[in-house]
């Protein structure tokens, strides 16, 4: 009576233990490693996950130890189009994308899930640190490793076919369990955030693809205070690496306030100018226990979401704010209970009721 489960295995410790747990629970598990890079690097010191031949071997070795069949699925084309190209295009448009989130949305729980369902599987399991009970997503027991934010974009339909076996465990427990199970990846280093930028040099990666177009850095009054080599090299809230040689009039540090790709202009200003309390969002997804129906307060079955339980997270591993929201013609208007800084268009605003995800939307602008 077990399910037919496809375990996505990156070659890391989390997905290996996740696969082992569901196999042990009596499900019929098949391990699949997703080949995401068209030109995988054969060996690299300090594995960063997902992209190397070494990772695929680690995944296969783990599958052999667990005793499940193992295959490699070539997802390189889809990954290039839906994640890498999208990543570059978003930066080109002056937004700050989150590629892990996009990969979950478009690859793992779309391309892979669709194919798995067509081939007769019931669900896709991954090693994400998040809880999923009856299709409802909530934060991991390990607050420091919680990945509910990068899963918050998934629809109910997608979550309905997902299994996250690690939600109740801490990373330390997972490593310990891997060692106990004889999985050789037990002490493999954690993967890096952006798997397709091997050296971690995001700015260099973007410069190679978008070119280095020189443009002005201006202050809030529009006065040019410096030059840059491509607006895509900047993120809202960034302070370091601006290379402005004139101090601000008030002598305080300056931060990136906005990025205007068309005029290739970066605007800087004091920290106070970064503070926002209202955020407009587009493309809301409601995936919580029930859909909010009221316009100003999120109603839930039997008043499930108490207003003071409503929270929003605005970037991965970012701070959590109390909030209110209302649905608008474009999407959502979110009002924070205190000012936030470094709010970047293109990131997701994930809404929680306490620890439970109720929905998400893409940040369009701070107002």
């Amino acid at each position: 009576m077990g399910l037919r489960v496809l375990a996505a295995m990156s070659g890391g410790v989390d997905s290996a233990v996740a696969a082992a747990r569901i196999a042990e629970a009596g499900h019929d598990v098949t391990g699949v490693h997703l080949a995401l890079s068209a030109n995988p690097q054969s060996h690299r010191t300090g594995a960063r996950g997902c992209c190397t031949v070494e990772d695929s071997r680690d995944a296969r070795r783990a599958a052999d130890v667990i005793g499940i069949p193992f295959y490699i699925w070539d997802m390189a084309e889809r990954f290039q189009r839906d994640v890498v190209d999208d990543f570059v295009a978003e930066y080109a448009a002056g937004r700050t994308p989150n590629p892990c989130l996009r990969c979950n949305e478009k690859i793992k729980f779309s391309a892979v899930l669709d194919r798995a369902l067509a081939l007769g599987f019931d669900a896709v399991a991954t090693g994400h640190h998040a809880r999923l009970v009856d299709g409802v997503l909530s934060r991991s027991a390990d607050q420091g490793k919680d990945q509910s934010y990068v899963l918050g974009v998934l629809t109910r339909e997608q979550l309905g076919h997902a299994i996250f076996p690690l939600g109740d465990s801490t990373k330390a427990e997972v490593r310990e369990e891997a060692a106990r199970r004889g999985l050789t990846v037990a002490d493999k280093p954690d993967s890096h955030d952006i798997c397709f930028i091997a050296d971690g040099d995001t700015r260099g990666f973007l410069a190679k693809r978008l070119g280095a177009a020189e443009g002005p850095i201006v202050d809030q009054e529009g006065e040019v205070v410096g030059n840059h080599h491509g607006a895509h090299g900047f993120t809202i809230g960034q302070r370091k690496g601006l290379h402005i040689d004139r101090p601000a009039a008030d002598g305080r540090p300056r931060y990136v306030l906005s990025i205007e790709p068309v005029s290739n202009t970066v605007t800087v200003g004091p920290r106070a100018a970064l503070e926002v309390t209202s955020i407009t969002c587009v493309r809301p997804v409601w995936n919580g226990p029930t859909e909010p129906t009221g316009l100003t307060e999120p109603a839930a079955p039997g008043g499930l979401v108490a207003p003071d339980e409503l929270k929003v997270q605005l970037r991965a591993h970012g701070e959590v704010y109390g909030c209110r929201f209302e649905e608008t013609a474009e999407g959502l208007l979110i009002t924070l209970d205190r000012p936030a800084t470094g709010v970047a268009a293109g990131q997701a605003a994930v809404l929680y009721s306490g620890e439970t995800v109720i929905g998400s939307a893409t940040i369009a602008a701070a107002v």
Partner: protein, 372 residues
């Protein structure tokens, strides 16, 4: 492994000794090695001195392709069929990339055959500059048997050494080194029911390829390295039994294969049989399933206890469309939707029945999953 090969090998495993040593133990091992050499030579129509033991088919192919090419420098042209196993094809490409070789791939027709005229025309473009020619006896993926005797004769007309990879052929087809006219012929243990990690290059007298392995000068100074007595004994036993039983096995497998092909066609009417329908390895059936991805079909069949392969079993990386099918004119989608069913001495009618039982549902499901 064949029981005879296991017995011959295990009999030697407990005994130590180096066949190159002069003392009594060494002499005893040498006797085993030399008797094995004589058995293989006798069984495959070669002289004992023409048997060069290697670590398997890949090493034998490397020795033939690189060694004969180097021995014939400064000639630069290397003619090789476009459907060779990677063990022969990749050394050729390596010679082109790093040694200045001019590699010319011999075209095949839609059934995967190298025509004698193709070879003749290729040689004629500059006969004096051809270093060596390599065309396999039978293709490992689609099973097509090559007209090796004719091709070897054409090579000899121009005095060019001719190598053939007969890894798939020995034990399935009649193979005689002398009759084939080849100057070098690759054999490997595990394809004839012998041990893994041992094989041989049959090398005509007078051919002295440059060594790939340098060292103690064993094996005519062509392949150095301490000889693996137990493995060689196992190889010889397997070759002896496989060749003795070749005709009977071939007859049985051909019958089984024809049944498989006919019933697969009934079960999946739009299936395409790849390779030469008549002149193919007895145990090989290779199909393209339109609209399916081979990988998906393989996974679904594996889950039902049917083991088969896409293309050739290969490394852990991403499956590439088969170079063999592409050379035969298949498009990339057809190449990706292909599966090979291999029958061997342990295969039975039950195996075929089981395949036919589970195939239609697997194909339907794989089609629904599409070529994503």
């Amino acid at each position: 492994m064949l029981p005879e090969a296991i017995e011959a090998m295990t009999e030697q495993l407990g005994l130590v000794g180096n066949a190159s040593s002069l003392h009594a133990t060494g002499r005893r091992v040498r006797r085993v090695v030399e008797e094995s050499r004589e058995t293989i030579a006798d069984t495959l129509g070669a002289r004992p001195s023409e048997v060069v033991f290697t670590s398997g088919g890949t090493e034998a192919d490397n020795l033939a392709v690189k060694g004969l090419y180097w021995a014939r420098r400064p000639r630069k042209r290397l003619l090789i069929s476009s459907i060779e196993h990677h063990a022969a094809l990749d050394p050729a490409h390596w010679l082109a990339d790093s040694q200045g070789a001019q590699v010319e791939l011999l075209e095949v027709d839609e059934l995967g055959r190298v025509h004698p005229d193709t070879l003749r025309a290729a040689i004629a473009r500059d006969p004096d500059d051809v270093a060596m020619i390599s065309v396999m006896w039978a293709n490992n993926e689609v099973g097509t048997v090559q007209p090796v005797h004719l091709l070897a004769a054409i090579a000899h007309d121009s005095g060019i050494p001719f190598h053939t990879d007969a890894v798939q052929a020995v034990g399935q087809l009649p193979v005689s080194f002398a009759d084939s006219g080849a100057d070098a012929l690759t054999v490997t243990g595990h394809k004839v029911g012998g041990p893994l990690g041992v094989g041989a290059l049959l090398l005509a007298r007078g051919q002295t390829p440059v060594s790939v392995m340098h060292g103690g000068g064993q094996e005519r100074d062509v392949r150095s390295g301490t000889l693996d007595g137990p493995a060689i004994a196992g190889l010889a036993a397997a070759v002896r039994v496989a060749v003795k039983e070749q005709q009977a096995l071939s007859r049985r497998l051909t019958e089984l294969r024809e049944d498989l092909i006919q019933r697969v066609r009934q079960a999946v009417p739009d299936v395409v049989l790849n390779g030469d329908p008549a002149d193919r390895l007895p145990g090989n059936a290779h199909f393209s399933f339109p609209g399916c991805e081979g990988d998906a079909l393989l996974m679904l069949l594996d889950a039902k206890g049917v083991e088969c392969s896409t293309g050739s079993a290969c490394s852990a990386g991403v499956a590439q469309p088969s170079h063999v099918l592409l050379a035969m004119g298949a498009d990339a989608a057809a190449a990706r939707g292909s599966l090979r069913f291999s029958l061997g001495h342990t295969s039975t009618q039950d195996d075929v029945d089981r395949l036919i039982e589970v195939l239609p549902a697997a194909v339907e499901r794989a089609r629904r999953a599409g070529l994503s």
